[in-house]
Symmetry: C2
Subunit: 341 residues, 2 copies
Amino acid sequence: MTRRKSVRRTTIDDVAKLAGVSISTVSRVVSGNAPVNEDTATRVQRAIEELNYKPSTAARALSDRRTNAFGLLVSEIAAPYYLYLLRGIEMAVREAGLGLLINSVGMSENQQEKTRPFLGEHNTDGIIVSSGSLPDEELQRLHELGLPLVLLHRTSPNGLSIPSLNVDNQAGIKAIIDHLVTVHGHQRIAFLRGPESEEDSYWRELGYREALQAHGLPIDPSLIGYGGFDEHISYTMVSEWLESGMSFDAIFTGNDEAAPGVLNALYEHGLRVPEDVAVVGFDDDHLASRLTPKLTTVRSPIEQLGKEAVAQLLSLMEGKPTPSKILPIEFIVRQSCGCSG
Amino acid sequence: MTRRKSVRRTTIDDVAKLAGVSISTVSRVVSGNAPVNEDTATRVQRAIEELNYKPSTAARALSDRRTNAFGLLVSEIAAPYYLYLLRGIEMAVREAGLGLLINSVGMSENQQEKTRPFLGEHNTDGIIVSSGSLPDEELQRLHELGLPLVLLHRTSPNGLSIPSLNVDNQAGIKAIIDHLVTVHGHQRIAFLRGPESEEDSYWRELGYREALQAHGLPIDPSLIGYGGFDEHISYTMVSEWLESGMSFDAIFTGNDEAAPGVLNALYEHGLRVPEDVAVVGFDDDHLASRLTPKLTTVRSPIEQLGKEAVAQLLSLMEGKPTPSKILPIEFIVRQSCGCSG
DNA sequence: AGCGCTTTCGAAAGCGCTTTCATAAATTGT
DNA sequence: ACAATTTATGAAAGCGCTTTCGAAAGCGCT
């Protein structure tokens, strides 16, 4: 095994020697976990600076039984959605003086199977688990070990009571339907469903059905299709609809990522948005305001979700009760619905 | 200090006891660093599985003097550009059986100053340093410590010889100018410069000038403006140009992120793209193919850049010579240049 | 001067692993 | 059958820190 050019690192001993104290004292000065005489402390501080001493995280972790890092587990890192989530998480974690370990369980380069997650009880003090990134079984194991866990976009399995965080999917889709019906007078509103594996898909569809009913509108099953929260799948679905002669006033795309596919399909079939068909998305991701027409959508407070997740983890570490939360959404009116926004 | 509900972790001792061997043997079985009798190994393996033993990263790191993790240091995590970079890096790191620590040096929530990076020699075996995320001084310190380092989008300071990775900026912009001049016959091509702090800005401008000269075109300083690789800044710049009555056949936006701003400015001044003005970007990020019109651009192999960075780090760890690299780009013709793509 | 406190600090144990060194057992050659 | 190897394994040191425990010193009183 090749080893790094061995420039011996400065350790706590070096500092202790230079400052003329014991390592216990140095440790106390560094961590601030116990009182130290002011003069002594200053002397130690000077030694630390002179030697440019940085405590070893490994040694600290070993002694402390805590790694001072949180983990983020996602299934596919390169989703536009994660851009702001990551940002929120990173900021909060940094603010808390911790590190952030990231791990995707996506396909590995060579194999077709999912790789075992690298994160676990041994290298984090808590993990943010995004939907679909971890099987219930492993989730249970970690939870029973007492490792702080927060779920994103999914609820806790069984009776595990792991706190979870989500946006208010139902309120979001209701806002959309209300707007389309009330403001624009649309009646036939198509719905693109997300993947089964995402709970959000379920909540959004439920909200859709309830909202239609609330307006006394019929639920036409042929207006509900599979979009998979995906641009290409949605493109295909909408194309099929149009080619089979189906008609609708508006389409809810499932999420913003799917919107470009929907817009393209409509455009290629000679339909104008919003004149002929209104289009509304969900999330207000990076794309939404940059599409043509600008996408009317529901803003998920993604960055805040990330911060909140970190807060939950910290709360769990302190042993506090940490209830699940549903974050409020905001309806963003732009042009794709027919408003002049 | 509150401590996690203390479910004592299973350690190497537990495994050793159950398998009836010494911890040395268990260690050897786990790491495979020394031969172990086959029967013994099986027995140990069984014990490991039965106890669900996972070695402590901290203890390992302490003993090994290596953390088994790489770090990624960026200045602002929520840039669309990082989406695929992160993906490439994460995949490669995972494939190498390592962890990935992410750290942004962006503004912290409360303070206006940049936060001290969390990453360093003590918690990583190597760091990927994105442009602008670390002052030369700290870079030097880490490099002299012998920590493997790879620079992204910037070259090594002074005589430090830290390997760096970049895309072929000059070739990219030359391909653009060639296309605009040769295929579309444009002569007055405006150029939006990136931030001073980014080397890419420099290379792209240099390439622009050289390419114009190669075509025997004059360099009109008024056609060069500051876009800052930013949507809003670019919007403002282009608006000013148009309001001051400047005219041009085409605009190079600096990078794709700036493109929406440019398109909006043109659109709001009644100019059609590509009929009145051709627009070309750089990077082929997530947005490029989804704008209207679809953006002609240069594809930076961002994901590959990430993978390559990890490969460089691994190479450095093995003490191999690890030269810098410039990755080739690909010119992507879409519609914003006037092609029918 | 002697007593009980409080404050400050050092010695040493322990965190869970890897690895060196030594020993014991098995194998080979003569 | 015996020395010379080779192979398999354990004991123990060490990685750099935190923290417990106890001693020493300083303090205010009687």
